[in-house]
């Protein structure tokens, strides 16, 4: 028998007791969200999950996955009762939970799992398809996934919100109505089923009392797309919505000060940092690590944190979120303009220098202006150049931007996957490579033993920190306002998840 690691069983045991809890009364009441993004039809179909956390706001409500991040942990078994990985790391086996059904009553079988994996065309689809040799249906209740070669991060991609491959859709129904039809009237296995959806405007869902984990306590969920922040806050105060996502600065401050309302900060894995591509050009001042050190000390992270996210964000010294696996936490560099000026003088720039363009990350222009202000104060003079979001992302990716670039990414995964994009040779945003770092990175990519791998990944982070390759600012907190009717808003229940969740645990206050 394949050596099974007991992780899977332990996980499911925990959940069993949750089910045993007395089934709540019949679901009632409506909870409404003022959502900051445009609700797109694409987010109703897990097969098209782009590499961001946003679509999972919808998937957690109407779909379910074999294994997904839950309060219990990153790879919590859900539709799979348990999962286990073979000793040689080539085979992963999932045992399906018995008696679990889709919204239309069809039972969930291994065929649906294979069908969902094969039709997946979202983020990292190519990566998965390249590395997976075969999805084998052992029997209707058991699936084995065979890899071509050992891939320690397989479960980081398959079992977390990095991809939507593990989220299961009904094979017969999808084949009957086709992709467009499925997006118009999706059927999933999640705690809520879709009642109505107006693309870009509103998504209405109702509790699915047949949900295996427990019957949700709130009857109806409504997501309403509201692009303007002040409107979201106004709708919250008026009572038109119960939760308003993404509030910043003064608007958030006002909600916090309003009696009966709460301001909460979710911690998605996103770090704001300043990228310095010019450091690879010997002629540029940034090539000198003392200048980079100076810049790190020039910025008052707490003041900006207070101004932008009311102190909810977490100033940091590393580009890797603390919550990530294999992350090495660093305290944020002290705010010390004097030291910064001294370092600049040592590096030969007593009265500072012109550092060229400063690109804030759209739409966070005010934060960009504040950062540039601090750098200016110590003599690093920049010219703020705001850009339209889409052209900024394109130009950054094609390395057309020179000077200082404020960057952030919310893609989930672990320290290694995050580093891959920024420091390793093939990385999209890598402007230069340190041979030593590249060597360490290749070694960890093949390392099966978690402990050894962690040491290597941490070594990389140590080098980046010592050489001050980037200027980390803070781990961005995602603020939302919560209205008086909400008892349990599900903030930060699922580690690294920016939105309310799990939906089945949300509760409204009993109407007196």
């Amino acid at each position: 028998m394949l050596g099974t690691r007991m992780f899977g069983l332990l996980g499911s045991a925990l959940l069993m007791c949750a089910i045993a809890a007395p089934a709540g009364a019949a679901p009632e009441g409506t909870m409404t969200w003022g959502v900051h993004v445009t609700l797109v039809s694409r987010w109703l179909d897990p097969a098209e999950a782009e590499g961001l956390i946003t679509p999972f706001m919808v998937y957690y409500a109407i779909h379910d996955a074999l294994v997904k991040p839950m309060p219990a942990g990153a790879n919590t078994p859900s539709l799979a009762e348990s999962w286990s990985a073979s000793k040689d790391g080539l085979t992963y086996e999932f045992v399906l939970r018995k008696g679990v059904k889709f919204h239309n009553g069809d039972p969930i079988t291994a065929e649906d799992v294979k069908f969902s994996f094969d039709r997946y065309k979202g983020a990292a689809a190519k990566l998965l398809k390249d590395r997976v040799r075969e999805v084998q249906i052992v029997d209707p209740g058991r699936v084995r996934i065979h890899l071509k070669e050992p891939w320690p991060d397989f479960m980081t991609f398959y079992g977390t919100s990095a991809t939507g491959a593990a989220w299961i859709v009904p094979k017969k129904y999808v084949e009957k109505v086709g992709d467009d039809g499925f997006k118009k009237a999706p059927i999933g296995a999640g705690p809520y089923k879709v009642v109505s959806f107006t693309p870009g405007v509103e998504l209405v869902m109702e509790a699915f009392d047949g949900y295996w984990r427990k019957t949700p306590s709130v009857k109806r969920l409504v997501f309403r797309s509201m692009p303007e922040e002040t409107t979201r806050a106004a709708a919250l105060k008026k009572g038109d919505v119960d939760i308003a996502y993404l509030l910043t600065g003064p608007v958030a401050d006002d909600i916090r000060k309003t009696p009966g309302f709460k301001l909460v900060g979710a911690k998605p894995p996103g770090v704001f940092w300043i990228d310095l591509p010019d450091q690879w050009d010997p002629k540029s001042p940034w090539h000198d690590s003392r200048v980079r050190q100076a810049a790190r000390h020039a910025i008052d992270r707490n003041a900006i944190n207070q101004a932008e996210t009311l102190g909810f964000s977490l100033p940091t010294g590393s580009v890797i979120p603390r919550s990530f696996e294999f992350a090495l936490a660093f305290e944020p560099p002290a705010f010390d303009p004097g030291k910064a000026k001294k370092l600049l003088a040592e590096a030969g720039y007593p009265n500072g220098f012109d550092a060229g363009d400063f690109y804030p990350f759209p739409p966070y222009d005010s934060m960009g202006e504040a950062l540039a202000g601090y750098l200016q104060a110590v003599g690093i003079r920049t010219k703020i150049r705001t850009m339209e979001r889409a052209s900024f992302l394109t130009a950054w990716r094609e390395r057309k931007l020179k000077g200082l670039i404020v960057g952030i990414t919310g893609a989930s995964g672990n320290a290694a996957t995050r580093l891959e994009a920024y420091v390793s040779k093939g990385g999209i945003y890598t402007a230069g490579v340190i041979p030593e770092v590249e060597d360490l990175f290749q070694r960890q990519a093949r390392e099966l033993d978690r402990a050894k791998r962690e040491i290597t990944v941490r070594q990389i982070q140590q080098i980046l920190h010592d050489r001050a390759m980037q200027i980390p600012i803070y781990e961005l907190a995602f603020l939302w306002g919560v209205g008086p009717r909400v008892e349990e808003a599900g903030v930060d229940q699922i580690k690294g998840f920016a939105y309310s969740g799990p939906y089945e645990d949300l509760r409204l206050k009993r109407q007196p």
Partner: protein, 294 residues
């Protein structure tokens, strides 16, 4: 209008005597004050409008609790002095406003005269282009240019000019159509003037009135459109101080009661637009002989 040529039949263009009676003094003074602020901004403004002290942000105006003499009209969300930004903002708004209106005026009037006077296929082509242009909203242009070239103040001028020349073309064409029928134009044709001369000497002076009047009215519309573009994030790029942008940035403070961040730039825009319109109305009566009699 020397005698040798055909007896001058056109109304000689001379700046009509702007009798003081009924001259709208207040709007004129407001526009002069704004122009004065725009020209001498560097001297007048107490602080550099683009630099702010983050710790010192959201300070209310001096006369309100928490306000300080240092910042008479308070500070904005990045701690910059609002008064200085308003003064420099006058310069940006004036430059953006006037340049856009003048450029739009030039294009629109020329095309308006050409299509109105020449008629035939020229008229059809220009009219078709105007119709098409109307379908492309200012906003679409703004984002195209912001995306392709990157946002800048001059982008906004190009966009505003590109969108609003059609208004001129439409109005001027209408005028030229009626002018063409007038006897003195027919006489000029009989007298053998070439098309170009007729357009330049006879049509242009008479159309200039409404172009100027339209210009004053467009000034308001252009400024307000700039504010809308800034609201959508494709207007004049921060940190350059423009009234529209200040208004857009200030909206975050509305909830929290930082009223001065939107009300003050809003007032500036309102004064400028109202004065432009009132001057425009007065000019229209003064310059337009037909209306003058009323």
């Amino acid at each position: 209008m020397n005698g040798s040529r055909a007896a001058s039949v056109t109304v000689p263009w001379r700046f009509p005597s702007l009798r003081i009676e009924g001259f709208p003094w207040t709007p004129a003074i407001i526009i002069c004050v704004i122009a004065f602020a725009a020209i001498f901004a560097d001297v007048l403004a107490p602080y550099n409008p683009e630099i702010g002290v983050l710790g010192d942000r959201f300070r209310p105006p001096a006369w309100q609790a928490g306000g300080s003499e240092a910042h008479l009209l308070g500070t904005d969300h990045v701690g910059r002095d609002v008064l200085s930004r308003l003064i420099f903002g006058a310069r940006v708004s004036m430059v953006v406003g006037f340049t856009a209106v003048i450029v739009a005026g030039l294009i629109g009037t020329t095309l308006g005269i050409l299509s109105g006077y020449l008629g035939g296929w020229v008229d059809q082509v220009i009219m078709r282009v105007t119709d098409t242009w109307l379908a492309l909203p200012a906003l679409t242009f703004a984002i195209f240019l912001a995306a392709v070239v990157g946002p800048s103040m001059w982008n906004i001028v190009i966009i505003l000019a590109a969108v609003y020349w059609t208004r001129y073309a439409r109005v001027i064409r209408g005028e030229v159509l009626s002018l063409r029928e007038r006897d003195y134009v027919r006489l000029a044709i009989v007298a053998g003037c070439s098309k170009k001369t007729i357009m330049r000497r006879h049509i242009l002076p008479n159309v200039l009135n409404s172009a100027i009047v339209l210009g004053t009215l467009m000034l308001g519309i252009v400024i307000v459109t700039e504010a809308a573009l800034s609201f959508l994030g494709v207007g004049v790029p921060p940190p350059k101080p423009a009234w529209g942008l200040m208004l857009a940035d200030g909206k975050k403070g509305l909830m929290a009661g930082y009223w001065w961040l939107t009300v003050l730039p809003g007032l500036c825009i309102m004064f400028m637009v109202l004065s432009a319109n009132l001057l425009g109305d007065w000019l229209r009566v003064k310059l337009d002989p037909q209306l003058r009699s009323l």
